[in-house]
Symmetry: C2
Subunit: 154 residues, 2 copies
DNA sequence: ACACAACTGAAAACGGTTTTCACTTTCAGA
DNA sequence: TCTGAAAGTGAAAACCGTTTTCAGTTGTGT
């Protein structure tokens, strides 16, 4: 999910900071996640690259990377603290409640929803976080019925 | 924000539960808050009415009241767990990133977004979590520019 | 009055996050 | 190359919000 390591290294260097092996591992872990991830999920994923990585460092790195704008902090549906690549602002994800598989879809009508919210509330909306969940085609087929709803939609 | 105590008492009674003095205090504390409130904030506020109230009870009551739909759980700006009175049904919330005030708006075109997601992914969507954030009119006015986006629409 | 279930608060347990601390790595300058 | 300073690190402890446990209280129906 396209996070340019060189660019980030540059941003860090401009502050006298470095893109260490550990930080790189954290960055990659978030970049490759198909949805927002919690610190512990990052920890687990990043450890495969960098086994001696500590959880402390993950927290510190997530903090740092979101500070320089490389990552975005979001409120996940379950966990409060979750992160996702900053560039990915505009795809949304659908999580299968049965198998956990994640699919992406490119945003379409969110603009209309946001406009409606602006009209109703007077707020100037700057960000939105949308997470859908349901049943993926595979799990839907396995449980028997399912597909009906998916097909009928539009 | 108008939470009808009698109605809530009725809903509870239908389940064999009671609207006790403590629960009433919690309910009032949330109802009178101008933005979403954390459990501890509720605790502090409710204690003025009911000094012997325990924090445990606050947690339990918030859980219970949001379960029966009297309160709504939202992701506050600082704390993950925050509550607000549940207004008219089916809405989403907009959190002000500056002051934390929460506004509701009734869902409108989410159906279209969901339909699009169904088409693109083949998932059978059953739930969605949407959280908007931005700047409320008050904070927008305070910071100078802002208002344009919010006011323009209507 | 009695029995039973709902309800409560204090304290302990729990779990995620932050801080502390001793140590390592990296880099600039002599 | 050596040296010193600052960045960076992991383990363990501390911290803090939330949940669970437990013994006791309150309210309701009989």
């Amino acid at each position: 999910m396209a996070l340019d390591a060189d660019e980030i290294a540059g941003t860090l260097a401009a502050r006298g900071l470095r893109l260490t092996r550990q930080r790189h591992a954290v960055l990659d872990a978030v970049a490759e996640a198909s949805s927002s991830v919690s610190p512990v999920q990052v920890f687990d994923a990043a450890r495969e690259r960098c086994p001696e990585l500590g959880l402390t460092t993950v927290y510190r790195t997530l903090e740092l990377l979101s500070e320089i704008g490389a990552l975005r902090r979001v409120h996940g549906p379950d966990h409060c603290e979750a992160f996702m690549p900053a560039g990915a602002a505009h795809g949304h994800t659908v999580v299968c409640s049965a198998c956990g598989r994640v699919a992406e879809f490119t945003e379409c009508d969110m603009g209309a929803v946001v406009d409606a919210a602006v009209l109703q509330t007077g707020y100037r909306i700057t960000e939105h976080f949308l997470q859908l969940s349901g049943e993926c085609p595979t799990c839907g087929a396995r449980t028997g019925q399912a597909r009906g709803a998916a097909g009928g939609g539009a």
